[in-house]
Each structure stands twice: as structure tokens, then as C-alpha cells.
């Protein structure tokens, strides 16, 4: 089932094209990472599909129009910042969300437990740290058990502890089988959580697909030897190796995925090269991202 369908969506701010003819479809159960540098149009896209910005052209539909105008009641979302009444506590703020969603259950224990705010539920929102505010916002998205949750830069501005707390909460939510859309520019975050990725830049879609297909099959190899020049020439002559570069002391290169790293070590030894360091890594999303967005 299609959860979200975006067709030819554009948004102009005067002469600036924040979003340029975007097409996208999100299926049920996908954990979609919306990637792009700052100012690429991620938040604009989310703002339009959440009804707070009006598009200059194009259209979108949620849940195949099953819920009509009321589709946002089935979506839990944070956009940019956690938005709550500063003079109300967690319970009161969640109560307001509950009333809007039209949900009966007034039991916020479970969601507050999930984001570890149960102990501070009676403190006013304005007394919260940024991490706590962000976590309350995540809790709010889960009220009424929505089909889809949307997070916009969920770990933005948090300290390392906050980031890891939020990340584990997100993984937990993702494991519940909900459809998740997450905008981010922090790539290992997306790589760890998402099943699918969309990369946009300057409002244009550059790539989309599942995380595996975006990540190319090449592996990256790091090598170190006492005689670097000999090693370099050896790698250069090797048929399965390309893109050799120097990274500090180490040499780094890309190789076909069928290259066996043990064989490579043996070949090197046969050529009189003793490797002191040899590591094979899968290419990270970050490398792919930089390559895709640099063009």
C-alpha cells in the first residue's frame, strides 16, 4: 500500500527554488531516510506534506486518500524543533496532542517510559534540557499509535549522550513496524536505522532506493607497509584495484567485491611486500553521499 505519493512538487520562495519537481513514493513499512545537505529542501518537503506550507506546484496524497482531509490525525510528526507550551508540564502538553488526535486513552505512561521522561512528567516544559524536549516531542508523535511517524533532524543540537538516547528510541520505534520518514544530514544515523534512502540537493531528487542499492558494492581497503612506494606500484598494477589514495600514512583504495583480502595479502608477500596493516571496509553511506551530492 502506498502511504505517501508526491507528484511534481515544487516550492518557490521568490526566485529561489526550494523544491524543484520532486517525485516520491513511500510504501507501508519503509523506514525512509531523507538525506541532503543543509538547505536542500528536506524541511520544505516535510512542511508541504504536513500542511503548513502550500506548494507552488504539484500535489501529494496520503494513504491513497483513505482519510481525506483528516490524514494528519494518522501521522505523528516533529518538524525542526519540539513545539510545546513552555508553562505546561509533559502530561498537560501530551493531553493537548491527545485532544487534537481525538484519542480516548489518557494513559501516557507507555510513551513517557519509552523516552525516559516519566520521572520529569510533572516538570514544566521550559525547565527541560534540549535532549528532554526532543524526547518529549518523540513521545508526542506516538500518541494515538499513528501509522506513520516523521522526524526532522531528530538529533540536531544534542550532546553525544542525547544523540545515543534519541537514536536508540528511534530504533525501537522503527522495530515496531511503523512507516518512518526521517530527514537528516547525519549519515551514519540514517545508515543504522533506515531501509530506504532518498537524496536531495537544491530541491532536486538525486537518488533513491533501498540503502543497499545506494551503497555501491565496492569495498574500501586500507593498507600500510614499510615500503610505501613499492606497495603503491603493486596496487596500481593490480587489475581489481582502483582509486588509490593516501590517507595519512595509509594507502586507501577501492576494490571489486569479489577480491579476497587473504589472496591480496599472499600476492603482496609474493612480491616482497610485508603488510603491517590491512583492513577491508564496506563503503559507508557518507562516502556515497559525498560522491552523489558533489556533482
Amino acid at each position: 500500500m502506498s502511504v505517501l505519493k508526491i507528484e511534481n512538487l515544487s516550492k518557490n520562495y521568490g526566485p529561489i527554488k526550494a523544491l524543484d519537481n520532486l517525485n516520491l513514493e513511500v510504501e507501508k513499512g519503509q523506514i525512509l531516510g531523507l538525506l541532503g545537505p543543509n538547505g536542500s529542501g528536506k524541511t520544505t518537503t516535510l512542511g508541504i506534506i504536513l500542511g503548513i506550507l502550500s506548494p507552488s506546484a504539484g500535489n501529494f496524497s496520503w494513504f491513497d486518500n483513505k482519510y481525506g482531509e483528516k490524514h494528519r490525525l494518522h501521522i505523528g510528526s516533529i518538524l525542526e524543533t519540539p513545539n510545546f507550551f513552555p508553562y505546561l508540564d509533559a502530561d498537560d502538553n501530551l493531553e493537548i496532542v491527545r485532544q487534537i488526535k481525538g484519542v480516548d486513552s489518557k494513559d501516557f505512561d507507555e510513551v513517557l517510559e519509552l523516552v525516559k521522561l516519566k520521572g520529569r512528567r510533572k516538570s514544566k516544559f521550559r525547565t527541560y534540557s534540549l535532549g528532554m524536549k526532543q524526547r518529549l516531542a518523540i513521545a508526542a508523535t506516538l500518541i494515538g499509535d499513528p501509522d506513520v511517524v516523521i522526524f526532522d533532524e531528530p538529533t540536531n543540537g544534542l550532546d553525544p549522550k542525547g544523540i545515543s538516547e534519541v537514536r536508540s528510541t528511534l530504533s525501537e520505534i522503527a522495530s515496531r513496524g511503523k512507516t518512518v520518514i526521517m530527514a537528516s544530514h547525519i549519515l551514519n544515523e540514517v545508515e543504522k536505522i533506515c531501509t530506504h534512502v532518498v537524496i536531495i540537493k537544491k530541491g532536486k531528487l538525486l537518488a533513491k532506493g533501498n540503502v543497499g542499492s545506494i551503497l555501491s558494492n565496492d569495498i574500501t581497503i586500507e593498507l600500510l607497509s614499510d615500503n610505501k612506494d613499492v606497495l603503491f606500484n603493486f596496487l596500481k598494477a593490480h587489475p581489481k584495484i582502483k582509486n588509490i589514495s593516501q590517507d595519512g600514512n595509509k594507502l586507501e583504495c577501492n576494490a571489486d567485491k569479489d577480491l579476497n583480502i587473504g589472496d591480496l595479502n599472499a600476492e603482496a608477500l609474493n612480491n616482497g611486500i610485508k603488510l603491517t596493516h590491512l583492513v577491508a571496509k564496506k563503503r559507508s553511506l557518507e562516502q556515497e553521499f559525498l560522491e552523489i551530492t558533489s556533482n
Binding site: G51, I52, L73, L79, F84, F85, Y87, D92, I100, A140
Partner: protein, 269 residues
Amino acid sequence: MLRLIKLEWSKFKKNTTLTLLFIFFCVFFPATLFFGSILPTGLPNFLPSKDSFFSFPGIWEYLGYAGNWIVFFFLGVIVIYTFTIEVSNKTLRQSIINGLTRQEVFISKLINVVLLSAFATLYYTLLSFIIGLINTEDFSLGIAFSNEMAIPRFFLMSFSYMTFALFLAFVFRKAGIAVFFYISYVIIIEPLIRMVAKEKIYSGAYINYFPMNATEDLMPLLGAKTTNSFPTNMDFAFLLTFKEAAIFTIIYTLIFLFISYSLFIKKDI
């Protein structure tokens, strides 16, 4: 509808600023009686005697005029605040993200205006009735309510001030500038425009038909009507009749509501 009222109540019942403004309104309104009671005795002879301020039917006009200022000031600011605080905390945006439609947001703010107007009118009626009852010797219901429709006039006046306040909140979206424009428009800008229009463009009754002047004329100062019979160099009256004031106030109110709605329904939030 009840759902929207409950929602607004949940948002604002614990807000200190609003609670204080509301208490001020409830205290200052009857406190204006005190000012009436300490007026010097030798009033100019075109004004009614001081005693008639507090007995029927004078009390309706006296408290009505006092309410004119108090409602304009306190309730107008409350209405601006209930919208702009939601803009600055971005809870307006979040409410829509969470699932309210823009129509529902607009209606809930309009309901605030209606409920506040109804409360103010009820409070005005109660105060006038009690004070009038205490100070009128020959009491009868006929005398008590011979007030030229003061109660609906008061409601319309309150509704008009608050609609104008809401309109400015929708336009400016920031509390400071909206409150500043609201107060200065009513007290300075519109009277200035009317004065300049009269002096420089054309001196005629049309200067009485400006929106806030029409609203003010729904509840004019006690005795101000007699000034209409003063000989002046103007060939038109100082005040609108109640009927004229009511018709024009309703027209302006509808215009303000229409513009507010059109602005809000499609604007990026």
C-alpha cells in the same frame, strides 16, 4: 465545537499572563464605579446629575461606557495574546501538524472571541443590575430594563473590539506589534485620520463612520448624546445613532473576519 472549546481551555487555563489579565478585567470593571463616585459635585449642567450614574437607567450607560474602555483594553489584549503566543511557541504550527485543519484553528479563535464577549456582557448585565437595584428607589423591572437595548449593544461592541484585535493578530503575528497597533489605532491613528479628513478633505458626517468610532458609539459617554443638540459650526451630529452604529459595526466586523480567514487559510505557517 465543544472539542475546540475544551482544547483552548487545556492550552490556556494555566497561563499566568492570561489569568492576570482576566482578573484585572474583572476587578477594574466594577472599580470604575469608584471613579464615578468621587467626581466633583458641581458637574457642568448639561451632564446629568451624578446620582443618575448609579440608578436605572443611567447605570447601563455609565457602566457601558466604562466597559467600552475596559473591554477594549483587557479583552482585546487577551485575544491578541491567545493567538500570538501560539505563533511564537510554534504550537499553532504543531496543532496543524498534529491534525487540526486551518478552519478548525480559525474557528477555535473565533469561539474565544464569542465566549469572551458573552462573558463580558453577562458580567456587565449583572453589575449594572445589582448597582442599579441598590441605588434606585422606585424599582420596577420596566425601569430596570429601559436601557435602549444596552445588553446587545454591549455584546456587539465587545465582539467588534475583539474581532479587530484578532484581525491584527492574524496580520502581524507578533504580540508586541499587534498590541501596539491595536491600542494606537483606536486611541490615536483613527481619531487622527478622522481629524485630518475633516479638516483637509471634506467636513461631513462620514468621519463618524470609521470602524472603531462606530464601535465606540455603541456605548458612548453618559450625557454625550445631549452634545448632539449643541449649536456648533458643524452641520452633522457628533455621534451615530445606535442603529447606525450597530449596522456599521456589524459590516466592519464581517469584513475583518473575512480578511482574517482569507489570510490564514492559505498562508505558510
